[in-house]
């Protein structure tokens, strides 16, 4: 699997302020869904703008399918390869839904029956056919977002970059955007998704990057969780007390034990090898065990732990 988007020591400052992003290096592989995570002001939008050639880097560079974004001659070709959904849908609200798509189609060099066919296709797949003649400004936020997605996909780009596509949408609209993402992924498109929705990132993405001005981590969601949390196992007793806690903590390989009511949560160093011994000790001591279950930490927990461990660097500038 080749690399489609590459950030190479990507750095961008605005004026004399501290860099909004500093020394980012990661790559998005062809055909994968890659989520960019980070708190507000972490530099996600700036990173997207740099990766898509909308902003020039102050240091380092980015490559789109091998093309250097600093090469102005390659700019139009780079932009042709990418379908961008910016944070704000950015529709021409006085123009109709159809005209918004037609305009962008033409700017991407489409015309005639080909353009008309693609517009019809997008309107159908995103459920906008009956709104084709409505002004974009009259649409609900969810429908506007769908139209913006249709616009980003109209020229059938190899790579789709979406900046916070779900933020501010109601559950139904958010689901339609998620469905669109799943469909795009099934088509083998390369997708870069910036999001605050960690559940979506966990469920949909192949890999995630966590940034806060600098790159904090790049991994698969499962890998990131493993890296930040050793194995957690919950042992549910009929009643737990300090003795039970001490017994479990005394097993070699158990880093720590957290007691919450009748439940003991064991943080294990090696995996689940320590569990039988802990269970045996508890049973011998007369405790009744109701259940033993592995705990899968959420990506959100991993993300928050990663941010806690990383000092905040002040960054200011356009976008975030």
């Amino acid at each position: 699997m080749g690399e489609y988007l590459v950030a190479d020591d990507l750095t961008r400052s605005y004026g004399g302020a501290a860099p909004a992003v500093d020394g980012l290096s990661f790559s998005v592989r062809r055909g994968e869904l890659f989520a960019l995570l980070g708190p507000n002001g972490a530099g996600k939008t700036t990173t997207i703008r740099l990766l898509t050639g909308l902003l020039g880097p102050s240091r380092g560079t980015a490559y789109v399918d091998g093309m250097d974004v600093r090469d102005a001659e390659k700019g139009p070709e780079i932009r042709r390869r990418i379908g961008l959904l910016p944070e704000a849908a950015g529709l021409y609200e006085s123009l109709t839904v159809h005209r918004n798509l037609e305009l962008y189609g033409r700017l991407f060099g489409l015309s005639g029956t080909d353009l008309e066919g693609r517009i019809r296709g997008q309107l159908t797949s995103l459920g906008l056919t009956d709104r084709a003649d409505h002004r974009a400004g009259t649409l609900s936020k969810g429908l506007k977002q769908r139209l913006a997605i249709a616009r980003a996909l109209l020229h059938e780009p190899e790579c789709v970059v979406l900046d916070e596509p779900i933020t501010g949408l109601d559950p139904e609209a958010a689901k339609s955007v998620r469905d669109a993402l799943v469909a795009l992924r099934a088509q083998g498109r390369t997708i870069l998704l910036s999001t605050h929705h960690l559940e979506d990132a966990d469920r949909l993405s192949d890999r995630v990057a966590v940034i806060r001005g600098r790159l904090l981590a790049v991994d698969t969601p499962a890998g990131l969780k493993r890296r930040l949390f050793r194995r957690l196992v919950a042992i549910e007793l009929s009643a737990a007390d300090a003795t039970a806690e001490q017994l479990a903590a005394g097993v070699a390989g158990v880093n720590s034990v957290h007691r919450d009511g009748p439940r003991l949560t064991l943080d294990l160093a090696r995996g689940e090898e320590e569990v039988p011994e802990a269970v045996e000790r508890l049973v011998r001591a007369g405790y009744r065990i109701r259940s033993v279950a592995a705990i899968e930490p959420s990506l959100e927990e991993a993300y928050l732990r990663l941010l806690e461990a990383s000092p905040r660097t002040d960054s200011t500038g356009a976008g975030s």
């Binding site: 020039g56 932009r79 950015g90 123009l95 305009l103 033409r106 991407f108």
Partner: protein, 246 residues
């Protein structure tokens, strides 16, 4: 530098014209100003024609003075539209999407310049045509035999006005790329252009219909327009447009 792809420029122009046509905020002043100025010019000229004891004397100067007065149009109309051209894309959050298309910076600049220039020039030309025809009809009916300085009039309407329109458009676009909102862009463009326009009109009126002066003036305005275009082109980069004024 790659060649300008005119179909893409035409799309930007078409889109901008459609937006202007749907914006009351832009459309009303766009038509009200030419109608009022042309009407005023014709009205005052008609009083000159009707009240003159010897209509053959001084009518040419009066005719030319009001033609010079109409030079306000090719400056004000591009300021009105051009100042909004880029900054409105920012305030409406459409700029990022537009910049993500394969348009080059040059194509975007040309398209964005034609957007204000085309309607401004069309309305200016229409105003000059209405004024010229109206004045000629007035003179024929009330001062037959009097001749109007058509050479100077045509130089003003067909050469000086378009050049001033170009200059105003380039200034307005340059300001629009750096401004935070439409109003501040319009104010700044007016601040730059009006001190240039007012003496130009007053000197033109004081000197009367002198084709040589008009040609020299046209050359000066053309040189200034080229200079502003050069500066605007050098500074018109999507990176700077996206970040400026934020």
């Amino acid at each position: 530098m790659s060649a300008v792809r005119w179909p893409l420029v035409r799309e930007v122009l078409r889109k901008d014209l459609e937006e202007i046509a749907r914006s009351r905020q832009l459309l009303y002043p766009l038509f009200v100003l030419p109608v009022f100025l042309t009407g005023d010019a014709l009205l005052v000229f008609s009083t000159s024609v009707l009240s003159h004891n010897n209509p053959r004397l001084g009518l040419g100067d009066a005719f030319f003075s009001f033609a010079s007065f109409l030079l306000v149009l090719p400056v004000i109309l591009p300021i009105l539209l051009g100042s909004a051209a880029v900054v409105m894309e920012k305030t409406n959050h459409t700029l990022e999407s537009l910049l993500s298309t394969p348009l080059t910076d040059t194509e975007l600049l040309v398209g964005k310049s034609l957007g204000p220039l085309v309607p401004a020039m069309a309305l200016t030309a229409a105003s000059y045509a209405v004024y010229g025809v109206g004045a000629e009809l007035l003179v024929r009916s009330h001062a037959p035999g009097a001749s109007l300085p058509w050479g100077s009039f045509l130089l003003t309407g067909l050469l000086l006005a378009p050049l001033l329109g170009l200059l105003a458009t380039f200034v307005a676009i340059a300001v629009s790329t750096k401004a935070k909102d439409v109003r501040s862009a319009q104010q700044l463009a007016s601040l730059v252009l009006l001190p240039l326009l007012i003496p130009l009109i007053l000197i033109g009126i004081a000197l009367g219909p002198m084709p040589l002066y008009q040609l020299a003036l046209a050359a000066a305005v053309a040189a200034l327009a080229l200079l502003v275009l050069r500066v605007t082109t050098l500074r018109f980069h999507r990176d700077q447009i996206l970040v400026a004024g934020v």
